[in-house]
């Protein structure tokens, strides 16, 4: 079982931890379903293939006994709560299993009046990391197969939940891959940065998976689907693609919690989270704002200070 474990002990999580978390989730889910606290629980069930998991809404204690939490539980379940994604909220108070990164989305959605805290029973997971895309799904999580976002995770220990499954995992000593990549792009000459993104955006097939999976893309009509006026060309050509990704990054600025689901689901492997992270970094530097750490009344782009930086304005 430890054959493939990374030498670095701190980043190798034993499967037993996930089993413990799974057990805690089951117990809690059964209890809240039984006592009627919630009408249902959004969580993970085992996938049909080994080493996979799938999101599910369960409504009975019996089903709850089947809930799992494993490194394959990559999905951000908060996406199922908004109306545009055929949300489940109208059924009454809902339980939801949430990793730290998912919690940031929940906080953001609360700040944007999309969900109410009292409508949720949050079963948070003290998450030890999930698989990256195309990673080998061994039984334990190692630096080799952990998701890139988990390398720089700062929210393992969720706060403000109704229940926390698991305790005190530490992820440290992992190479900050995304930060390094961002620094690399930033250091490129401007023309090469353009070339980099041009190549990526040109591949986009406008499948809109990024939009579909994003908890914050809850608009009932996306700006990019509007044709009067058509602000963003919607056929998969480089011009429209570039516009789409810039507009999307702009719309997510100050909101995105960094779950990186967009990047995970992208069939063309466009490094979308890189854009979101860059915007998050900028807003942190300019306005000392980090999205989703707690429900906020106003996002960084919905408020201002009279002495905000204006060095770029003549």
């Amino acid at each position: 079982m430890n054959a493939k474990a990374n030498k670095n002990q701190s980043s190798c999580i034993e499967p037993s931890y996930y089993q413990a978390v799974t057990q805690a989730i089951r117990t809690q889910a059964v209890q809240v379903l039984k006592d009627g606290t919630v009408a249902g629980v959004v969580g993970y069930l085992p996938g049909r293939r080994k080493g996979t998991a799938r999101p599910a809404l369960i409504t009975t204690p019996e089903e709850a006994e089947k809930l799992i939490f494993s490194p394959a539980c990559v999905n951000n379940l908060s996406v199922y709560l908004t109306k545009s994604k055929k949300g489940v909220l109208k059924q009454g108070r809902i339980g939801i299993v949430a990793k730290g990164c998912d919690m940031r989305a929940l906080a953001g959605l609360m700040g944007e009046s999309q969900i109410k805290r009292e409508d949720l029973f949050i079963i948070a997971v003290d998450c030890a990391g999930v698989y990256g895309s195309r990673a080998e799904r061994s039984e334990s999580v190692t630096e080799a197969n952990i998701a890139r976002k988990c390398h720089e995770c700062t929210v393992h220990h969720p706060e403000g939940a109704d229940f926390v499954a698991g305790a005190a995992t530490e992820l440290s000593g992992l190479t900050p891959l995304e930060a390094e990549e961002m620094a690399r792009i930033e250091a490129l000459p401007q023309a090469e940065r353009w070339a980099f993104w041009k190549e990526h955006f040109s591949r986009c097939i406008r499948c809109m998976a990024c939009r579909q999976v994003c908890p914050f893309c809850y608009c009932e009509q996306c700006l990019c689907d509007k044709n009067r006026p058509q602000a963003v060309e919607n056929s998969p050509r480089p011009a429209g693609n570039t516009a789409w990704h810039i507009v999307r990054a702009m719309h997510l600025a100050g909101r995105c919690g960094g779950c990186a689901e967009c990047e995970r689901v992208c069939p063309m492997d466009i490094p979308l989270n890189l854009l979101n992270r860059r915007m998050a970094k900028e807003l942190k530097e300019l306005y000392d704002y980090e999205a989703g750490l707690a429900p906020a009344e106003k996002g960084p782009l919905n408020q201002y200070k009279e002495d905000d930086d204006q060095s770029f304005i003549k």
Partner: protein, 665 residues
Amino acid sequence: MSRIGVFVCHCGENISRTVDVEQVASAAGEIPGVAYACDYKYMCSDPGQNLLKKAVAEHKLDGVVVAACSPRMHEKTFRKAASAAGLNPYLCDMANIREHCSWVHEDKKLATAKASDIVKLMVERVKKGKSLAPITVPVTKRALVIGGGIAGIQAALDIADAGHQVVLVEREPSIGGHMAQLSETFPTLDCSQCIMTPKMVDVANHPNITLHTYSEIEKVEGYIGNFQVTLKHKARSVDESKCTGCGICMTKCPKKKIPNEFDQGHGLRTAIYVPFPQAVPNTPVIDRENCTMFQSGKCGVCAKVCGPGAVDYQQEDRFSVEAVGAVVVATGFKLYSIDRKPEGSPIQGYGEFGYGAIPDVIDGMTFERLASASGPTGGKILRPSDGKEPKQVVFIQCVGSRAREKGISYCSKVCCMYTAKHTMLYHHKVHDGQAYVFFMDARTPGKGYDEFWRRAVEEEEAVYIRGMVSRLYQKGEKIVVMGSDIQVGVQVEIEADLVVLATAVQAQDGADLLAQKLGISYDKYNFYSEAHAKLKPVECATAGIYLAGACQGPKDIPDTVSQASAAAAKVMTLFSKDQLERDPVVAKVNEKYCVGCLACKKVCPYGAVEEKEIRDRQGNLVKVVAYVNPGVCGGCGTCQATCPSKSVELDGYTDEQIMAMIESL
């Protein structure tokens, strides 16, 4: 297909000198959707306007672009002409080819090309334009005035005299405010109460004024012309309808030694009391914290002696809702206290002046009460510690004011004048006394003000010393004042009998909370913000709410009264019509697509965005969306730029219009 008419003006030679107007007109004729294009010498002249009107009719135009001067110059002219020709005025736009083109470029070829582009931009804009109708909002012709000081009284009387109903709310048991506390007023030295009390009585007797004292604002809903205000009437423990104001309760009350707030704590009052003899209404109130009946249940003397049986220990706070169309906020100010401030307060006290612990270091308002004939000393200047007449009095200006590090950086505006007045009052009352004033600048910009100050110096022999005081300390019966005279360049030391501090004027306690209820903005000092510092000095950014007096910033009585009357005039202007008509450039929400993230609400500078519940026929909540109140919307469009799904749209500047313009580039 649109049928747009384009009219290119020569403006004499102002445009035609550098722009080939004929070419611009003929190019405009080629733009798809343009049904008619021509050029003319003076479009704004009568024949020019007639040309436009005739063309609208003849060519069945559904939009007009006048390529001429700046819209800031003649937009109204041409929209009026278009309107006269039966066209919606908002389908008439101007292409600015004079200020933005012919006057700023010399090269005729480039200028002509640019003029054609500008025309094209505006044609595209008009093509996507919509007919708009002015917005009307009904007006409730009844005003609420918050605060019963001189500002509120003046505003209430002015509005009431104009024939409108006024609801006047005061949180203290009597109206009168700070002005009732003053002894004499600058620059004429007339007795404050002599000019104030008749106005208070006028308020009480005015048939159009409903007075609620000992009451506060609980909640404000609605918008211009249509506010619903919930008032909280604090329990007075005396039934106003029964009380005759005979005052026997006060003479019999056994609790007699409570420091009187009206006298800045230097006089005494009973537990059932009116703040001062001329109070309006002359109905006592029971101070429950000091009343034996309320504290121990044993007393009840006032109820026993009250003939009409007005005393009611069971009375509770009561609430009422008033419908009003306009609100005048006149909540006044409070004075800075030099006392030690709680940890973390942005404002510091004055440790160097003893944090208020030296009994003979008093503030200006206390001096007013000492000088007032109705005050605790009967108008004699006697110092608080031992009741002796002070022979050396030091006045210190700018205590708190203009002291950035103490948390207040502004000038309190009234202190220079009232300190000069104090030195005069002192000199009149204590002939062998000497007044000294430490000051940084004498700021006396008012009618007769500088003359008044100079009189204090030249005739009343106050010694003004330019320089500040570093420290005050008690030395036996004296207070040592360590100051400096920067003109001579020496340190100055005075052993004073009494020190009077001209403490800063600050916003009232709770000013921020009231502002939040009203939805008006306030500055970092909690003074209320006017909509425009120069051109809208009495209006709030929130339509229908007006400011009067020191709640907006330090102000003296004449300025306060002027602003109160100005606010009243604004209210009367609003009340002069049954319906409020507004420019229709306002935002509208597309409820079908709005998902209610309310980002628009967060950025709206006017507080015009509200939440609206969409329900199905069974009454089930379908969703919550944003709603822009057209009566309140100012038309900036920040909401639309912020809305991710563009479900809110600013009429007159729709995305469709702007995109069409960009596409035509």
